[in-house]
Every structure is written in C-alpha cells, then in structure tokens.
Symmetry: C2
Subunit: 236 residues, 2 copies
C-alpha cells in the first residue's frame, strides 16, 4: 500500500486505530448488550461513548479556541452565527461543544477526483497544515446543489477538472497554501455543509491564497454551490 | 460569480427535511447554547437528539425485528455475533439499540462509479426493495482494504467495472434482484464495515441471486475485500 499524504487519504496514521478496534473482538458499533442494566440506573447511566472515526475533526465556534476569528463572510446561502474564536479538535464529544455557538464536523476520506499523475504531482509539492510559518488559517464550508449530486462521477470530474481546473488551480498555490478537505455529507447527522476545507499559509502569502480562491470561484464548478462561508482566523 | 438559485433546486425525497432544517435558522449541528443549563440538572438532562441524516438506515440484530435470520456466514475476516432477528429502520436512536447484539449503520449516497449510459440502463431495469413478492432479503456487509482506498478514482473504476464487471453482473440479475447500497466508511463513528448492501428477491429467484454473488466474488475487485459477512433473512 502506498499512501502519500495521511491527511487526504485515510492514510497510515488513521488505519491502526480502526484496525485495533476491529481486532479487539467487538468489531461492531453497538452498545454492548446489558450495558444499561449495570449497577447504575437507566436514567442516570451515561451513554457509553461510541468509538470515534479517527479521521473525524470537530470545529467549534464560540468564545474559546486556539483560533481567533478575524472575519466571517457569507458568499451564498445562510450565514453562520458570528463568533469570536474557533477550536479545531480531532474527534467529537458532545459535552465539549455545549458552550459553542455552532459546531461543524467532517472526516478526511479517500480522494474522489485526482488521477494518478495529479496525485503524484500533489504529493511532490503539497505541504502539511500547521507549519510554524503559517500564521493565517481559513475555513471554507460549502454545500453543493442536488443537481451536482445527481451527476455521474465522470460528469462531476469533467466539471471539476476539465472545465474548472480545480486541481491545476490548487497546484499553482502550492506549497505556499496548505489545505485539507473534510467531508460532511455522509455523516449520520444532518450537516449544514457538504465539505469543509481548511487552509493555512504565512500572512505574506495572502495574495496567493486570494488568487486561488478567486480562480476557483470563477469556475463552472462553483455554479453548483448553494451555500458557502469564509472564515479567516489567526492562531494566537 | 454565478450561482444557481438555491430555491430552485428542491430535489428528491431526502432534500426537503435537510432544507427545512437549514431554513429553521439553526443551520448548524450544535447543541443550542445553554440547553444543558435548563431547569433539569446537567447529570440527568437528556442529551437533545441531533437531527438524523434522512439517508441513514440502522440495522439492529438481536431477538427482535421484522426479519428472521435464516443463515449467517463469514466469507473473510471476523464474524458478526449470531442473532435471531434483524430490525431495519430509518435513522438511528441509541436507546433503541440497547438490547441489540450488534448494530450496523450506513447512508445511501451519490453514485461513485456508474457512467451515464449505465445509470440510464439501471434506471430502466432496476426494481425497488420491498416488493410484495420479495420474501427473501440478504445483507452483505463488507470492508475494503487500505490498498483499495489508496487507489485513485480512475484506478478503482478500472478494477470495479472494466476488469470485474460489477455493474454488468448486477444488470444481469435485474429486475429479479433489487439492491440498495449503504456507505459506512465516512460516518463519525468507527464502523466495522465500509459498505452494507441490502438485496431482496422472490425465493424462486434465489439461483439468480447466488449466481450474481458468485460472479462478483470471482472478480478482481473482491481481492480488495478483507471482511465480508452474508446474512440471509425472511420477513415474517
């Protein structure tokens, strides 16, 4: 198995915990039989936590968090309520999100559109999130239309790359602008967005990022987006 | 920037509840601020349910349920604990699964591999689950290897159809054998399988189904499967 980037692919970092869970002999996502009939009563028994997908990330906005929000903008669709700070943490814990104004969640997953040569090229030039020099972070949650999801894979790829050049545009901003894509559409809960993309870069590279964003938004792919927000943040 | 009117694409069956949730002004998957500080104490306050993805289905095995298990077989990987009956219900509710031996979940999603002509052909001949004549149901939960998920989309399509003829084999059994695919890999919880396929058909068509299954399992695609169970059931 060859995986170039653990962030984009469900790569090496995350497989072990999934596998060790399966090897534990549980191998099922159920509440163990009889768990609720233990010594504590049913009313007060805490619901045992279900094991969290190691590819899941939670974005909680409110008054706390390591990122300070600099600006929030709504490009299309309903805005997100305004907040001061955002916390970005692996996994999810409902209790931790109690004080938050809003919470978004997404999982990294297998790539849907890149071909082998693009994947190779991306692996050569892409940078990881969280470099010491990356003082600016941006979140772009977006939702695509039912018309997009009704297209076939080849039709989506055709719009995504052949006509909108999504991958080629992204490559131009590399390695200055690091990115990670999270998928929200196939979670068990109703999520307000289909995707969240997290970017980070040095403030000196802001123009490169703005150019990337403008180029993507000018493409045909963006006609299939009916909700999009843009949240710029600094880490302090 | 040009964006399609978000009000003009009120799509298929599942979209309305998603949209009405978003229109409700919440538009976020968060616990409302202060919900836990209501008149009941934090310890006994029930956690408010999060809105469930309308494409989610829960499969609970145990002693109850509308399907009686006739046989359970493990093709590869860990077996599922044996059970007498299975309940297949829309959505999920952790309390309802308390008495179950195991619970699987999955969401229906956009198609990943069919092209336009295959999609058209499938639409012409496929049948829905739940016909009055379909007295046999089969669940096939399966997991694909990390090597599969590290492939690009085009490489997966090449194995799936060009070399394993997954869609063509499925078409041969239509309309006798109805099927629905659920995705589990990108849920927020660790799930023991990547997919669950539910089939149903009249018992007189069992040979057609067996042939379909044997043909799929003989293909190259199946070399990328490291866990597979087969659960045959009747509805009574």
């Amino acid at each position: 198995m060859s995986v170039t980037d653990s962030t984009s692919d469900g790569g090496p970092g995350e497989e072990p915990s999934r596998r060790s869970f399966l090897r534990s002999g549980i191998g099922i996502a159920a509440i163990p039989m009889g768990a609720a009939e233990a010594s504590i009563s049913k009313e007060t028994a805490p619901i045992p936590p279900e094991p969290t997908n190691p590819r899941l990330t939670t974005f909680s906005a409110g008054t706390r968090g390591e990122y300070r929000i600099v600006s929030m903008q709504t490009l299309v669709g309903d805005p997100l309520p305004s907040a001061d700070r955002i916390s970005i943490v692996p996994g999810t814990n409902r209790l931790e999100t109690e004080g938050s104004t809003w919470t978004l969640r997404g999982v990294t997953s297998n790539e849907r559109y890149v071909d082998r040569s693009e994947k190779r090229r991306l692996a050569e030039v892409q940078a990881p999130l969280g470099r010491a020099t990356s003082d600016v972070s941006v979140l772009i949650p977006l939702r695509k239309t039912p018309a997009w999801w009704a297209l076939t894979q080849e039709e989506r790829r055709e719009i995504f790359e052949s006509r909108s050049h999504h991958i080629q545009i992204g490559l131009r901003a590399l390695p200055a602008v690091a990115r990670r894509l999270y998928h929200c559409r196939d979670l068990a809960t109703v999520e307000p967005f289909d995707f969240i993309t997290q970017f980070d870069f040095a403030s000196a590279d802001t123009a490169k990022f703005d150019e990337l964003l403008a180029a993507l938004r000018a493409g045909e792919e963006w006609r299939y987006i009916d909700r999009e927000c843009e949240i710029r943040m600094v880490r302090d």
